[in-house]
């Protein structure tokens, strides 16, 4: 009964989405206000039905309803309840339902937080989101219905893939999808503006918090995925340049470019058509990512059994969305004239270079990811493009980009005085060079890559500190409190840039100083890695709720003093009989110790993998700082001023909300 309710709710949501995707759009085109006003309630109703469907599936998982095929495939009566909830998105059908939930959740958010937008704009945005919803609901209902019955019911489920039985699964897909799908809002804003012919500063301002919010989720989602791969896959790597990872990285690169170009469009009114194009691109890449992950056309370390038929549907959807939005762009963009001009040396130019570098980086990732498919389609042998390709390209592309991070915040809009900037920043640069030359010597190993990494990281940090000192000094000259006039979005920018520096330090130190050893260890054997003595104390049996394990004991000593006792495990999950390596990791701020068990060799000896990873947690820490920077930026009050103004202005007369919002924005 419950699964049928869920199925029915999906169909109802489709009906709602069809209304949502058409009537408000027509209303906006013909100026019929009641039709436009329909957008919000219909979108909210659609969200409600998707929530019902989602809750039904969660309920089926919690109640062990193995007469539902999807539940029988991905759950088991011994699976703990929190993994049963996460198992909802542990397979294809459920993860598409999660995708839907996110999409209608974002639509719902637009309907709630758009009170300061004109009706025409809101109805168009919600309609465009409705059209996307129709596409994906059809996809779910026609090719991947999670509520399909299994008759007769299975006595027990096949269990969730053991790799997925982890806190990573609980958090990673929801965060990543929030990010992916979040770009649909910016996309809808861009399309709505193209339709309405309104691509002004107000449009850019509305899009900015939505873009940044989606970007925050994507950043956290990618970081969490990387961390999960690091500790769960038992290989100790944090990024594999695998096609599925690249699929999430490409929208991130374009989203980052979009955040910067939206800033220019809002402040200076230039780069308009470029910004629109980036918005379309970001969402298209999110769709491409969904296609690559769901179709299994690429061999991936993340690949699970997949169905090419479904891939074809997503590919069709991708072609329709990209094709129609690019067509609209081609028809409308020439009318969008950028106002204002800027000199060759100005903050605009530096941000343009930032954008070009980010988009080129995305293009190289795209080429590396799709090249095997391309070669295959053209009848050439299908190659795989490995990590060295990406690493070779990313260093020359990211070096100037990171250099700009330090430089651009000092440049003026419109026309910057480059020689004066060079004079002001020469000490900062000198400091960074000194750090790059000397610090590796102190650490005991000097290579060009270590020096380059430390140069870039310290350049970013020194320039941030310098910028803040300068602000405080100027405030003292003016007699105001330090940082009185500093906005949250400025703090957010500096924090996100600081996060990049932390990230670079992490990458540089791990790449430069990590130690990886595969060993054969008898009970009582000791092996020294980077000053730590690892003593293998043997393996004992151990059992968990739905698995049996061999549990190793490794005592770690430093200079004779005990540091930590680690317990790596080799598990066998009973339902599938599938073995799993569970690495033991000891994390401190400056290093990770990583031990995992290989196989038993003979007489109690095991093959053991021991890693020493300096500063590895800085990689994810840097990403978290970037996301926090995004949070600070979104919380900037200038995005909320318009709302307050409207409430004040509403009581006398319900004047056109957009006009009031614009008036409020023009002097902030």
């Amino acid at each position: 009964m419950i699964p049928e309710i869920g199925h029915f709710a999906l169909i109802m949501a489709l009906v709602m989405a069809m209304v949502q995707g058409t009537i408000p759009l027509v209303g906006a085109a013909t100026g019929v206000t009641p039709w436009m006003r329909l957008a919000r309630p219909v979108a909210q109703g659609q969200f409600l039905f998707i929530v019902i469907a989602f809750v039904c599936l969660v309920y089926s998982f919690l109640m062990h309803d193995f007469s539902v095929l999807y539940v029988a495939m991905h759950s088991n009566s011994a699976l703990p309840w929190y993994y049963r909830i996460a198992a909802v998105w542990g397979g294809h059908e459920g993860s598409m339902l999660l995708w839907m939930l996110m999409l209608s959740g974002w639509t719902f958010a637009v309907s709630m937080f758009s009170r300061n937008l004109p009706d025409e704009m809101v109805s168009r945005v919600i309609s465009v989101l409705g059209l996307i919803t129709i596409g994906f609901l059809l996809f779910v209902l026609l090719t991947s219905n999670p509520f399909t019955r299994l008759l007769p019911a299975a006595p027990d489920g096949q269990d969730l893939n053991p790799l997925l039985q982890d806190v990573g699964l609980i958090l990673h897909p929801p965060l990543l999808y929030m990010g992916y799908v979040g770009f649909s809002v910016v996309f809808a804003f861009a399309i709505a503006s193209l339709l309405g012919g309104r691509l002004d500063a107000a449009w850019a301002r509305w899009s900015r918090p939505w873009t940044t919010t989606a970007w925050i989720f994507l950043t956290l989602g990618i970081a969490l995925g990387s961390w999960w791969a690091y500790y769960e896959l038992g290989w100790g790597g944090w990024w594999f340049w695998d096609s599925v990872e690249n699929a999430s990285f490409m929208p991130w690169l374009v989203g980052t470019a979009l955040i910067h170009s939206l800033a220019v469009t809002e402040k200076r009114g230039v780069f308009r058509s470029w910004t629109v194009l980036l918005a379309i691109l970001a969402f298209s890449l999110s769709l491409l990512g969904t296609f690559l992950v769901r179709s299994g056309v690429l061999t991936s370390v993340h690949a699970f059994a997949t169905d090419p038929q479904r891939g074809l549907f997503v590919l069709g959807l991708l072609v329709v969305v990209v094709g129609s939005s690019l067509l609209l762009f081609a028809l409308r963009a020439p009318r969008v004239k950028s106002e204002g001009s800027f000199a060759g040396a100005s903050r605009e130019t530096l941000l343009l270079v930032n954008n070009v570098l980010l988009v080129v980086a995305m293009a190289t990732v795209l080429l590396g990811t799709l090249y095997p498919l391309l070669a295959d389609a053209l009848g050439f042998p299908k190659p795989s493009v490995g990590a060295p390709y990406f690493e070779l390209l990313f260093v020359p592309l990211m070096t100037p980009l990171v250099f700009l991070i330090g430089l651009a915040p000092f440049a003026r809009w419109k026309k910057a005085d480059l020689p004066a900037m060079a004079v002001r920043l020469r000490w900062a640069f000198g400091c960074a060079v000194a750090v790059a030359l000397l610090l590796p010597l102190v650490l005991g190993k000097w290579t060009p890559m270590i020096a380059l990494g430390l140069l870039l990281a310290s350049w970013v940090i020194v320039t941030i500190v310098y910028a803040l000192v300068q602000r405080a000094r100027r405030a003292r000259e003016l007699g105001t409190a330090p940082f009185a006039g500093t906005t949250r979005s400025y703090w957010g920018m500096q924090l996100a840039h600081f996060g990049i520096a932390i990230f670079i330090i992490g990458v540089t130190m791990v790449k430069g100083f990590e130690v990886e050893r595969d060993l054969r260890m008898d009970t009582g054997d000791t092996f020294n890695v980077s000053g730590y003595d690892f003593r293998f104390d043997g393996v004992a049996e151990h059992s968990g709720p739905n698995y049996a394990a061999m549990r190793g004991r490794v005592q770690v000593l430093r200079d004779g003093r005990e540091v930590v006792t680690m317990h790596p495990e080799k598990r066998v999950y009973s339902a599938r009989g599938m073995p799993m390596t569970e690495a033991a990791i000891d994390t401190t701020l400056f290093r990770d110790l990583y031990v995992s068990l290989g196989e038993p060799v003979d007489n109690g000896a095991w093959s053991v993998r021991i890693y020493y990873k300096p500063f590895v947690s800085w990689i994810w820490g840097g990403c978290v700082l970037m996301a926090l920077g995004g949070v600070l930026t979104v919380s900037d009050r200038r995005y909320r001023i318009a709302v307050k103004q409207r409430i004040k202005g509403e009581s006398p007369a319900p004047a056109q909300p957009g006009a009031v919002a614009l008036a409020a924005e023009s002097h902030s």
Binding site: V297, V301, F304, A305, G344, P383, D518, L519, M580
Partner: protein, 152 residues
């Protein structure tokens, strides 16, 4: 600078940048493409010797041997027509099994053995890398073709 000159300057810079990036990309791509071969294809292609490639097929039943150092393993990869012995030092991924599909990356030595420096993991025991499935299919059809010939 006049607007026209400025535009030309941007354009020229853009073109130079594009050229540099294209050169970088092509160079990186050329050096880092790794091709996939089944044992039959690898043995038929003499130019592969000492070049890095990916070898894929099934791990032959009963072929896994572990050497006394506990880390070096030997096994045979087959496409049911030809097979190649593989040597690998290190810890095998969890889902490595005899009788199942495998992809190894490394070089074919003059000793006739494939020296793998990486055995690729998969995340699902029912998952068969598409290349392996295709390789097996190609080997099978080649076998079919040769066995048909005497009849003609």
């Amino acid at each position: 600078m006049k607007p026209r000159q400025k535009r030309m300057a941007f354009l020229a810079l853009g073109l130079v940048g594009l050229a540099v990036i294209t050169a970088l990309v092509l160079n990186a791509l050329r050096g880092n493409m790794v091709f996939f071969y089944s044992p039959s294809e690898a043995l038929a292609n003499i130019t592969l010797v000492e070049h890095k490639f990916r070898l894929g097929g099934l791990v032959e039943d009963g072929s896994l041997v572990r050497e006394s150092d506990g880390l070096t393993v030997r096994f045979i990869v087959t496409d049911l027509t030809k097979s190649i012995p593989v040597v690998y030092t290190g810890i095998l991924p969890d889902l490595f099994r005899e009788g199942q599909g495998v992809v190894a990356q490394g070089t074919l030595g003059l000793d006739g053995a494939f020296h793998a420096d990486e055995v690729l993991a998969k995340h699902d025991e029912t998952y068969m890398p598409p290349e392996v499935a295709e390789g097996l299919e190609r080997a099978k059809s080649a076998r079919g073709a040769t066995s048909d010939q005497p009849g003609i």
